[in-house]
C-alpha cells in the first residue's frame, strides 16, 4: 500500500535503543515513520521495515537470539520473502543473522572494547534497498557504537558472500582504502554490512540513523535513507 509518501516501519523490541532516532531519521528524510511493536502480528501496511539498534531482550543468550522469536519477526520474515525492503542496523543486523535472513554472526570486538566513533565506509554495491542511489567505490561517513560487531562466518558462507557480491559496505579510509588500521572490530574482510541474495534485506553495524542531521554529526546516512525511501516508494514489498 504505497501512497505519496513511503511508510517506513521501525520495530521496537524490549531493550531497543535507536528506534526513536530511526523514526526521526525517516521523518527528516521525507518518509512517514510508523512505530511497530515487537508483539504486533501485522506490519500496518508499511513499505519497508527497519530493525533498530540497541540491546533487545538484554542481549540475553546471544545478541539478537531472543528477538528473533518475537511475534513481529514472523511478519518481517514473510515480508522479506515477498521482496519487502528490510534493514537491520547494529542489533537489528544481529537479529537478521540469528533469524537466518542474513549469513554469518556477530561476535565480541577484536579489541575487547566497545567502540563509539565515526568511521568511513566504502560502498561495494548499489544493488540493495539501502544503496540504490550510491556508486560502488564511493565512501560515506557514519558512526559506529557496538561491543559485538565483529562479523564472522563459516568458510562456505564467506565464499558465497564474496563471490556473489553480497558485501554492501567495508570499513575503509576516507579515500576508500581497505586496510586493517581502519577495521574497528576485526570483522572478516573488513565487512561492515551485507545483503541477501536479492538485495532487499540488508544488515549493517554502522548507524545511518545517527547520520542524517548536519547539526549533530556526519551526513553519510542521508543517501542510505534516500535509497530506502526510493525503494519503498517503488512498492517492491507491497
Amino acid at each position: 500500500m504505497t501512497g505519496s509518501v513511503p511508510r517506513i516501519g521501525v520495530v521496537t523490541f524490549p531493550g531497543s535503543l535507536d528506534d526513536r532516532d530511526a523514526l526521526r531519521a525517516v521523518r527528516l528524510m521525507g518518509g512517514e515513520p510508523i512505530p511497530l511493536w515487537h508483539a504486533d502480528r501485522d506490519l500496518h501496511h508499511v513499505d519497508a521495515v527497519i530493525l533498530p539498534g540497541g540491546f533487545s531482550y538484554g542481549d540475553y543468550l546471544r545478541c539478537g537470539a531472543i528477538a528473533r522469536f518475537a511475534a513481529v519477526m514472523q511478519e518481517v520474515v514473510t515480508f522479506a520473502a515477498r521482496g519487502g525492503p528490510v534493514v537491520g542496523i547494529c542489533n537489528g543486523f544481529q537479529v537478521l543473522c540469528e533469524a537466518g535472513l542474513l549469513p554469518g554472526a556477530l561476535i565480541r570486538n577484536r579489541s575487547l572494547r566497545f567502540v563509539c566513533r565515526n568511521v568511513w565506509l566504502r560502498v561495494e554495491t548499489g544493488q540493495t534497498c539501502l544503496t540504490t542511489g550510491l556508486t560502488p567505490g564511493e565512501t560515506i561517513q557514519i558512526p559506529i557504537k557496538h561491543g559485538e560487531g565483529q562479523w564472522v562466518a563459516t568458510p562456505e558462507q564467506l565464499d558465497e558472500v564474496e563471490r556473489d557480491g553480497r558485501v554492501v559496505f567495508r570499513y575503509a579510509s576516507r579515500a576508500g582504502i581497505v586496510e586493517d588500521d581502519h577495521n574497528p572490530n576485526g570483522s572478516t574482510n573488513a565487512i561492515a554490512g551485507i545483503r541477501n541474495a536479492s538485495g532487499n534485506v540488508v544488515g549493517l553495524m554502522p548507524h545511518p540513523e545517527h547520520a542524517v542531521d548536519p547539526d549533530v554529526g556526519p551526513e553519510g546516512g542521508q543517501p542510505l535513507f534516500a535509497s530506502l525511501l526510493h525503494t519503498a516508494m517503488a512498492g517492491v514489498g507491497a
Binding site: 546471544r62 537470539a65 561476535i107 565483529q150 564472522v152 562466518a153
Partner: protein, 85 residues
C-alpha cells in the same frame, strides 16, 4: 512422563577468536598466574525436561541446543545428562 536433567555446554568454535577468553587470560598474571594459556569462555545451561524416556529427552535437548541455545555458525554445543535436581 519422567523428568530428566541436562547440562548444555556452549563454546565458541575452535579457530574463532575468543576475546572474553583473551581478557581473562590477560587478567590472570595480575594475580600471579602467568602460566595460563588458551583460556576459552563458554556458557553453561542447565535444564529439566519432561519426556517419556531418556532417549526422547536427549533428542529434544540436542534440538534445543542446535536451534536456540547455541548458534551453530560460531558455537559448539555439548549436551550432558545431569544429576536430577
Amino acid at each position: 512422563m519422567t523428568t530428566f536433567s541436562f547440562e548444555v555446554l556452549v563454546t565458541l568454535k575452535d579457530g574463532l577468536s575468543d576475546p572474553q577468553g583473551t581478557a581473562v587470560e590477560s587478567a590472570l598474571p595480575a594475580l600471579g598466574w602467568s602460566n595460563v594459556r588458551h583460556v576459552r569462555v563458554g556458557k553453561h545451561i542447565r535444564l529439566d525436561v519432561n519426556a517419556d524416556d531418556a532417549g526422547s529427552a536427549r533428542a529434544q535437548v540436542e534440538e534445543m541446543a542446535r536451534r536456540l541455545l547455541s548458534n551453530p555458525v560460531i558455537e559448539d554445543a555439548h549436551v550432558m545428562e545431569a544429576a536430577s535436581s
